[in-house]
Symmetry: C2
Subunit: 219 residues, 2 copies
């Protein structure tokens, strides 16, 4: 089992399992999704990231105790990833670093799209010189804003702008883009390579999970 | 089609297609394998790497012209990867960088196993502080040496030594290990995570190929 850590609090099973379902459906691996307590709005600044850190560590430890072979912190900021890695023996994959490593593997110029004005530090540090620009779709500050046709149009416009400025690969710095299927929209409409953070964490997690579970049958 | 560039010259189709077959079988993507001319011994020092560089670029360009959507330089040293990327418009994945990025995605201490005493520069640079040690199995200077039971025993011994010295993940710095299936031997005998360079390049290449070919069916 892969343990998927959601860094926002929800009692809605559908919401809780959104990322895990993408991973399970796309890569055919078993997942178990859990969320941290008492943060219904998730992580959106330094203070909420600090508040979440010990909860992420505690949740990861309990998922390891429940038998998970690998953990995923399903957030583009990789919150508390170092602390969690120091506190469990199983591998920990983060959405932000996974997406960055996947982009780095082809060495093309990266434009980051997110719902905040700042690129998460982990992504900025990893991407280095390959990061040529970043953007937040106009008027979008949360993923709900993207769920309308107008929101999707704003996102497509933002992607087009990144490409005009030299971006060869668009990397998502928000896992919310995954749940609305934005990557496929941009791939289809603009013919651009898109690295989706949930797809990327799932790619690494599933490949590693297969060897850890001795389930190395055809992928 | 994914174009797989072999950096040694062979007229033996089975040898030529060894890496491509691993990628096609494991990830279910179509591949086309080609080798550079006039280097039957491949790349084994700076001089042969320099001699190979223009051939790799020419081969990559012709594979792009033949319709390949993505190229793989199937060698752990990523020879001529920058030059090739500068000369084609399609993405280029290298075995050494792919294996390194996959290892980096879980942040565990890396030990590199190869058949030379030096870790390829691209891997050393990418792995940075996570690279804690490296080893060449005793008496092994080419992959043929590993094909005997005695050779496999030497490789297992070397892996055990890496683990005793703090390695948490073994990364192969030689694609020849892939063709003899060494990763599964070490995973099974030592329960260690092994990043195989051909598996890693195939993981990235297949995921990216799927979006480039609009063939994003279930993986």
């Amino acid at each position: 089992m892969i343990g998927v850590i959601r860094v926002l609090t929800t009692t809605n099973t559908e919401v809780l399992e959104q990322h895990g379902n993408i991973i399970a459906n796309r890569y055919g691996v078993p997942v178990m999704s859990r969320c941290i307590p008492d943060q219904p709005l998730g992580i959106f600044n330094d203070e909420t990231e600090q508040a979440a850190a010990p909860k992420i560590v505690a949740l990861g430890r309990s998922l390891e105790a429940e038998g998970c072979k690998l953990l995923v912190i399903s957030c583009a900021a990789d919150p508390a990833i170092k602390q969690l890695r120091d506190n469990v023996s199983i591998p920990v994959v983060g959405a932000g670093s996974a997406a960055s490593h996947m982009a780095l593997s082809i060495g093309k110029k990266v434009g980051v799209m997110g719902i905040t004005d700042e690129v998460p530090a982990v992504m900025k540090n990893l991407l280095g010189d390959l990061l040529v620009n970043s953007i937040r779709p106009e008027g979008v500050t949360n993923t709900t804003d993207l769920m309308t046709p107008a929101g999707r149009e704003k996102a497509t416009e933002a992607a087009r702008k990144l490409m005009e400025q030299g971006t060869e690969v668009i990397v998502f710095a928000c896992t919310g883009f995954s749940t609305i299927g934005l990557a496929d929209v941009l791939r289809k409409e603009l013919g651009v390579i898109v690295i989706d953070a949930v797809e990327a964490e799932g790619l690494f997690a599933s490949a590693l999970y297969r060897q850890l579970s001795n389930e190395r049958s055809a992928v």
